[in-house]
């Protein structure tokens, strides 16, 4: 089998070239006022996408819908059903929180503010997770707080194939500085929402780490509302699980804010790792940067990145860029990569996107080995170098080290 590499561009006939092929464009203060994407079919605006708390508004997807067209929906029936967390024989998943005293508040019922401020479900998975979570974890980082250690929310799946729902609400108070690690291990059919409210001038980094066992499935909607002059960074790291689909979305509630959505994924044989990002430039003078990098190896390893950026009419002075890069290590993999950029005003600093998919093939290997580098070292060199750009942005040394090791293990697994 050959590697199947698709981008919207590739689908309309551009050749794919060994090594890195980069396509992209920067539209700097361009006079454009139309939907900018490379799709063959013109999709409706991202702004028109339905959001609702009502389960009935989201029928079960068939796989033909725009937002589900890359996902293996048949394998997701349990996660998409409107069912409560499975408590028998044990709760399908549980979580523990490591945070300074007083940060964890009383849980939030549906409709209890601030729950629902930043996250309104945007698909079937998110709405059933929301509807089936009576008590949402509520963590508040007080204004001006700068906790010395990252906060941790550790989700552990205890029963593969059993349904788990979660909705977490995270508030970063004005001018606070903090890092929150949301870590997923074990196995379950986990449907998890994360709602993030970043206060004025706050700096918050959320790192969502998917180190699931092989039989875990995970759907997630992570929505952030970023306040005036605040800086929000979301890093999705997906290594484990059989199906992971994580949607990371940002909207602004004030001007001068910055959002950085980063991702790293490594798909093995049979694994489906999907990441979707959406930056809604609904305010003037905000900045966003999206970068997702992924490696693929083994038969039917499938990754998806869909990056939506919407620059609304009122979002003057917006500066935005998004990029996805994939590295295909073996035959039989498929990387889908779709950047969608909608620009409704020409009065912006910049808007650009790029998508590239490179193959690490026998010629690369020959070149490195012809310089004395053994095969296993050559592979590690390439993958480590490629993914390090994201890992080094985590800036939590212990976690960086763990993830580097996890990537090495993924590679070692392929050599056996």
């Amino acid at each position: 089998m050959t590697a199947e590499i698709t981008t919207e561009k590739a689908r309309i006939g551009a050749p794919s070239i060994a090594g890195f092929t980069e396509e992209g464009e920067g539209l700097v203060a361009a006079k454009v006022d139309h939907t900018h994407n490379h799709g063959v079919t013109v999709m409706s605006s991202r702004a028109e996408r339905l959001t609702s708390f009502n389960v009935a508004d989201f029928p079960l997807p068939t796989g033909r819908e725009e937002e589900w067209r890359f996902s293996p929906v048949r394998g997701l029936a349990n996660l998409l059903s409107d069912t409560a967390t499975d408590l028998d024989p044990v709760p399908a998943a549980g979580y523990t929180v490591e945070a300074p005293e007083g940060y964890v508040r009383a849980p939030l019922a549906p409709g209890a503010a601030p729950r629902g401020t930043a996250l309104v479900p945007a698909d079937r998975a998110a709405v059933v997770a929301s509807a089936n979570t009576d008590e949402a974890l509520h963590v508040v980082i007080p204004a001006e707080a700068e906790p010395a250690e990252p906060l941790r929310i550790l989700v552990h799946g205890a029963a593969a194939g059993h349904r788990s729902n979660a909705h977490f609400v995270l508030e970063a108070g004005a001018n606070s500085r903090s890092v929150v690690i949301l870590e997923h291990t074990g196995a379950a059919d986990h449907n998890g929402n994360l709602e993030v409210i970043v206060g004025e001038g706050a700096k918050l980094t959320v790192i969502s780490v998917q180190l699931w066992e092989d039989d875990a499935k995970h759907l997630a909607q992570h929505d952030a509302q970023v306040g005036k002059d605040a800086v929000y960074k979301h890093i999705a790291v997906s290594l484990g699980g059989s199906i992971v689909r994580l949607n990371s979305n940002v909207r602004f509630s004030g001007e001068g804010a910055e959002a950085e959505l980063l991702g790293l994924y490594f798909a093995d044989a049979g694994q489906h790792l999907e990441h979707r990002s959406f930056v809604d430039h609904n305010m003037a003078n905000c900045k966003s940067n999206v970068l997702y990098k992924g490696a693929l190896q083994g038969k039917d390893a499938h990754t998806v990145w869909v990056g939506d950026v919407l620059i609304q009419k009122q979002a003057l002075g917006t500066d935005s860029y998004e990029k996805n890069q994939n590295l295909v290590l073996t035959d039989g993999c498929r990387a889908d990569s779709v950047p969608n950029l909608e620009i409704e005003t020409g009065l912006i600093e910049g808007a650009g996107h790029a998508s590239s998919t490179g193959r690490f093939d026998d010629e690369h290997l020959f070149y490195l080995m012809a310089r004395g580098i053994p095969e296993d070292v050559a592979r590690r060199l390439v993958v480590r170098g490629f993914l390090n750009e994201i890992i080094q942005k985590i800036k939590v040394p212990a976690l960086e080290e763990r993830l580097t090791d996890a990537v090495e293990r993924e590679l070692a697994a392929s050599e056996n």
């Binding site: 090594g19 026998d362 020959f366 012809a370 310089r371 580098i373 070292v377 390439v382 480590r384 170098g385």
Partner: protein, 265 residues
């Protein structure tokens, strides 16, 4: 003093039309300090010889031997050959995604020497070698060959030759696609490596112009997978005058002569 010995080498490749023999009994002996030029028309098997020495998996050795100081090179993997002291400056160096030049050079040097180079002297050596080859300092931060022009790729090949200090360097049409200035810079690099006295060079080329800058002691003319004539530098001079047409037979002669005329005209 080392010896690279090629004896009665037969090499074939698999094509859609079946197995095709490219090298039909090549014998060649190169010793430290010597420079051998292999010259021949396109398709004569020159590059196949280079790739076979390096161990490219596309080429099957059906008979014959390659030894380095008596050691069986054909039994070695590609990386083992490089660590044994063989270096191939490639005709078309590939771009390697995700790996910076800095990281690549250090990793290769470590593999070849069996120990990591001392950081301070290594950085200095790399910088000095780059300056001599007129490679911009920012190349170290870029990925291996990524976005390099054809000339830049060739310079970077010679940079590696100078840094890795092989026993034998095989230069596979390193001169092709270079303008005169780049050709001089690259040739100076090869001559510097040669002047250190521990290297033998196998220079594979279609044209004679690189021989104005790199002086071979031995010239071998390659036609149809075999060495058809051998001699000293005077043979290269003769080729410059006459081209390859006197080696060609039958219908091929006109084509080769025409191609040569086009090139030299």
């Amino acid at each position: 003093m080392s010896t690279l010995e090629i004896k009665d080498l037969h090499v074939s490749i698999e094509t859609e039309q079946g197995t095709k023999e490219i090298l039909k009994g090549v014998s060649l002996t190169i010793r430290t300090g010597e420079t051998h030029a292999i010259m021949g028309p396109n398709g004569s098997g020159k590059s196949t010889l280079a790739s076979t020495i390096a161990g490219h998996p596309r080429y099957n050795v059906t008979s014959g031997t390659i030894t380095l100081d008596g050691e069986d090179v054909l039994a070695m993997s590609v990386d083992e050959r490089a660590r044994a002291g063989l270096f191939l400056a490639m005709q078309y160096p590939v771009e390697v995604p995700g790996v910076s030049m800095t990281n690549f050079l250090r990793t290769a040097k470590t593999a070849i020497d069996g120990e990591a180079p001392k950081l301070r002297t290594w950085t200095k050596d790399v910088k000095a070698a780059m300056e001599k080859l007129r490679i911009d300092a920012d190349f170290t931060q870029r990925n291996v060959n990524e976005g390099f022009s054809g000339g830049e790729k060739k310079r970077v090949e010679i940079l590696q030759l100078e840094l890795f200090k092989p026993k034998f360097a095989v230069l596979d049409e390193t001169d092709s696609g270079l303008d005169v200035d780049a050709l001089k810079v690259v040739s100076e690099g090869v001559n510097r490596a040669h002047a250190e006295g521990n290297m033998g060079t196998l220079l594979i080329t279609h044209y004679t112009r690189i021989l104005r800058y790199i002086k071979p002691e031995f010239v071998h003319v390659f036609v149809d997978g075999q060495v058809v004539e051998e001699g000293g530098p005077e043979l290269a001079d003769r080729l410059e005058e006459e081209g390859y047409d006197r080696y060609a037979k039958g219908a091929g002669a006109a084509t080769i002569a025409a191609a040569d005329a086009a090139v030299q005209g």
